[in-house]
């Protein structure tokens, strides 16, 4: 069950193939193999680079909107720079800045200050942090790659040492996983599957694959709820969850990637599902995936999750439907 192809997805995938190791497990899972020359052209066209050190990608990770408690999915990466300076991800111009006001009225900031740079090809890089301040030396119509766009001024070790980075493809109406633009990122820690459940109208059966006696449930339509965690590797690098594959009774039931989210009228559409992103998670911060009708009989469910660097975590669960 593939996600609908978007016009910009082709470009994103070209970049993805360029920066991803050709012998990685994730590469072997792809269906197409674009020519190297085309990939080089895509790289020139985009020219956005996300720091590979101190990066923690949370693209697609469930979060909680306090005070309402509703879930939503992250759409960027937390980056801890070595100095309190925020470099431009690519050549561009200042599109938007928010924060550092002398006056206090009108539309307030959420929690962070923001700087957005517009790049060629409709791409936008968006930087945010509670203490982010726009560099006074920045020329708004001529920002070079790696030029300092702003500074973050928190005490070392605190939350304000980080800034959050999002990459947007406005021409294709996509928010793109920033991991696609961080070719040097190294993460060898496999993601963990912390919970798998089948849920239906208030009923939930949590997978306990280590049990000797197979678990049983009634025939019907079930959604798959999964809780995942991608632990950090050396230097705090988290390449982020990138692909979720579900095989039910030997058939691929779902194979979805967190490469981008669509900018839809109802919000962000991740994994090819409709928006808003709150539909994809519950209040316990579990992903809610496709519904399936489970008929009577013995079943086998194999869930494999990959992070962006191709590390995989797998869970196999056998159960009986009565």
């Amino acid at each position: 069950m593939g996600r609908p192809r978007q016009p910009g997805a082709v470009l994103v995938f070209l970049v993805f193939f360029l920066i991803f190791p050709l012998n990685s497990p994730l590469f072997q899972a792809q269906n197409a193999s674009p020519a190297r020359e085309e990939a080089s052209m895509a790289e020139k066209a985009i020219s956005i680079f996300v720091p590979a050190a101190g990066i923690s990608v949370d693209f697609g990770v469930p979060k909680r909107f306090t005070p309402s408690g509703s879930p939503y999915l992250g759409s960027g990466a937390q980056i801890q720079p070595r100095t309190p300076e925020v470099p431009a991800a690519g050549e561009g111009i200042v599109l938007f800045s928010q924060g550092g006001s002398l006056l206090s009225s009108g539309f307030p900031r959420s929690r962070d200050n923001f700087i957005a740079l517009a790049h060629d090809g409709g791409f936008v890089s968006l930087y945010s942090s509670p203490s982010l301040a726009l560099s006074a030396r920045l020329k708004k119509n001529g920002v070079a790659r790696d030029e300092i766009v702003g500074t973050i001024e928190g005490a070392r070790g605190g939350q304000e040492d980080n800034y959050y980075l999002r990459v947007i493809d406005n021409s294709s109406k996509l928010v793109v996983n920033p991991a696609l633009f961080s070719p040097g990122m190294i993460d060898r820690a496999a993601p963990r599957i912390e919970e798998v459940s089948l849920i239906k109208e208030g009923f939930r059966l949590k997978a306990e694959p280590e049990r000797r006696i197979l678990q049983r449930l009634a025939q019907g339509d079930y959604k798959l709820a999964i809780r995942l965690n991608d632990p950090s590797y050396a230097g705090g690098v988290v390449s982020g969850l990138f692909r979720i594959k579900v095989v039910l009774d030997g058939q691929v039931a779902a194979d979805r990637k967190l490469d981008s989210a669509r900018n839809l009228d109802e919000g962000l559409g991740f994994l090819g599902f409709s928006a808003p992103s709150s539909l994809l998670a519950d209040r316990d911060m579990r992903f809610l995936l496709d519904g399936h009708f489970l008929a009577r009989g013995n079943h086998s469910l194999e869930l494999t999750v990959y992070d962006f660097n191709g590390n995989a975590g797998t869970l196999v669960w056998r159960f009986i439907v009565e």
Binding site: F65, S68, Y72, Q98, G106, S110, V124, Y164, G267
Partner: protein
Amino acid sequence: MGKTATNLPREGVFEEAGRSFHIRPDQQGIAERDEEGSGFRWEREFGSLITTAAATQNLSAWGLLDGRVFLLDRAGAVLRIFDPRQEGIDSAHACVYALALSEQGESLAVLFGILPQYVLVYERKSGFYSLSYTRKLQGDLRSAQSAAFARNGRSLLVKTADGLVFFDRDRGKGALLHPGRFAGDGEMLIEGFGDDSFALLKASADQRYVGLVRHGALEAYFPLPKDSFGLIAGEDSFIIRGGERDLIFTRGEYE
């Protein structure tokens, strides 16, 4: 609707027209508090960053980084999505920098795009909004700006890089007020004052000025204490919030 001193913005909460909207930390979602303040009436996610907003008692408008404006009803349902690019407004980059909604929602003003930037006014006739005024600007600003309709809804004042743009709905004409004084990227707050006037607070370097605009003319403009930081306008008076004390202006005198 009169405002009180408690209406100055709190981080993460947009308060206008007696309504209170909580902003999600990624600034791509909002939730409106119910009237009791104990729960939420509705929530909405946007596909792009919220850059500015405006609200009346029955409507709210949300400007996005991708250049679109969502007009929502009291229950948070989408009434209309404005996309100036779909109406031939040609800027190198789309983004919404200021919004103003008239009290009854018959007019919506937008500061849109860069290279170049535009002031746009949409008007509702027979239930449908159409673009009624377009002003192309020489310069552009890259941060959220202040804009307001007069309380009677007949005129608009917007801070732009070129100066203050005044639009008279009855005449369908716009004008630039005192560009020498108001052009540039100095910060400004604008609020409708009385029925047909605007109060403004300008900050430039370490100086503050207060002004009064009526029928498109600058009727008063003078300096204020350097610690002035906020503006709250009502029907008969407006308050300038200051670090040490507030100044209350009432039709030509202040105390």
